[in-house]
């Protein structure tokens, strides 16, 4: 039995040495990473909201388009500051959603179309008189990451 074991070991050793050498090859790997930072943009298509009341009208509005985009989940919101001393009740509306935050993205907001902002003034009375209020008024729109 012992001889048999020794013989088998010898055969195995011979087989090992007689076997062809393994192909010479090696490999190694590494990770590759790319980081893309947050990016967003928003801009009006026009330059200003100009509201003119004529013929005894008590209110009016103006509409401007805008384009926005973000490479993350974002929201669009607005802040209206009426012209300094201007009479009436002022409000704004973004794409029929009122003054609520509009969530979108990642991507272009309404790709290829964009959105609209409407600024409205109401309840301007005769007693407010005729005048022009051209300073201090702003309609700010903002795109930022949703909480």
């Amino acid at each position: 039995m012992r001889k048999a074991i020794v013989s088998l070991a010898a055969i195995a050793a011979l087989a090992l040495f007689a076997a062809p050498a393994a192909a010479a090859e090696d490999s190694d790997s590494c990770d590759v990473t790319l980081t893309i930072e947050d990016y967003c943009h928003i801009e009006y298509g026009g330059t200003s909201f100009d509201i003119t009341l004529s013929g005894g009208a008590s209110g009016g509005s103006d509409v401007e388009g805008f384009h926005a985009g973000a490479n993350f989940a974002a929201g669009i919101s607005g802040v209206l500051t009426p012209p300094t001393g201007a009479p009436g009740d002022w409000s704004f509306d973004i794409d029929g959603q009122g003054q609520a935050v509009i969530n979108f993205g990642p991507g272009e907001y309404n790709a290829g179309v964009g959105g609209t902002v409407t600024v409205t003034v109401e309840n301007v009375g005769l007693a407010d008189g005729a005048d022009s209020w051209a300073t201090g008024g702003t309609m700010e729109i903002t795109v930022q990451a949703t909480p």
Partner: protein, 169 residues
């Protein structure tokens, strides 16, 4: 067991001594010189080794890149050792997949002056080496060049590239 030797005569005294020494276990006298030859062999198997020194971090895509065609790239040094003619190859493209999918170009090249033996062999870049040690003399570069848009979602994308070194056929 005791052996008994018969002495044939005085002229055979030396022969008798030889027989006696043999019987005592001593070595029999030989000729004054003798040689023999044995083969001496050496087998060196083909051996290659490759190691990428670091991970590759491509340049971060910053906000001012958006809307413009810009290239992001990163490089790692590669160690090559071989005792035979060998070919290093790496894929020409790497796929990054985390929040989406990006195809990234990859290439290997030799540092330093002189002709660079890189040649294109889709879908691999191949680089030939003669026997020797080439620590840190090869670069592995990954790059992506495109117009960046908001469709390129913020985040970190990860992929893997594998270099293979094998004895040339």
């Amino acid at each position: 067991m005791k052996e008994v030797f018969t002495v044939p005569g005085p002229r055979h005294g030396l022969a008798f001594l030889a027989v006696l020494l043999t019987a005592a276990g001593a070595v029999a006298p030989q000729a004054t010189g003798a040689t023999d030859l044995a083969d001496v062999g050496l087998t060196v198997h083909e051996w290659v080794a490759v190691a990428v020194s670091s991970d590759i971090m491509m340049t971060t895509v910053t906000p001012d890149w958006f809307g413009n065609e810009r290239q992001s790239s990163g490089t790692a040094l590669v160690d090559v050792y071989t005792n035979t003619d060998a070919t290093l190859r790496c894929p020409t493209t790497i796929t990054l997949m985390d929040h989406g999918s990006y195809a990234v170009d990859a290439a290997v090249s030799l540092l330093g002056p002189g002709p660079n033996p890189v040649y294109y062999s889709d879908p691999y870049w191949c680089l030939d080496f003669s026997p020797g040690a080439y620590p840190g003399q090869t670069t592995l570069t990954a790059s992506i060049k495109k117009v960046w848009t908001v469709s390129d979602i913020a985040g970190t994308y990860t992929g893997t590239v594998t270099l293979e070194l094998a004895a040339s056929p």
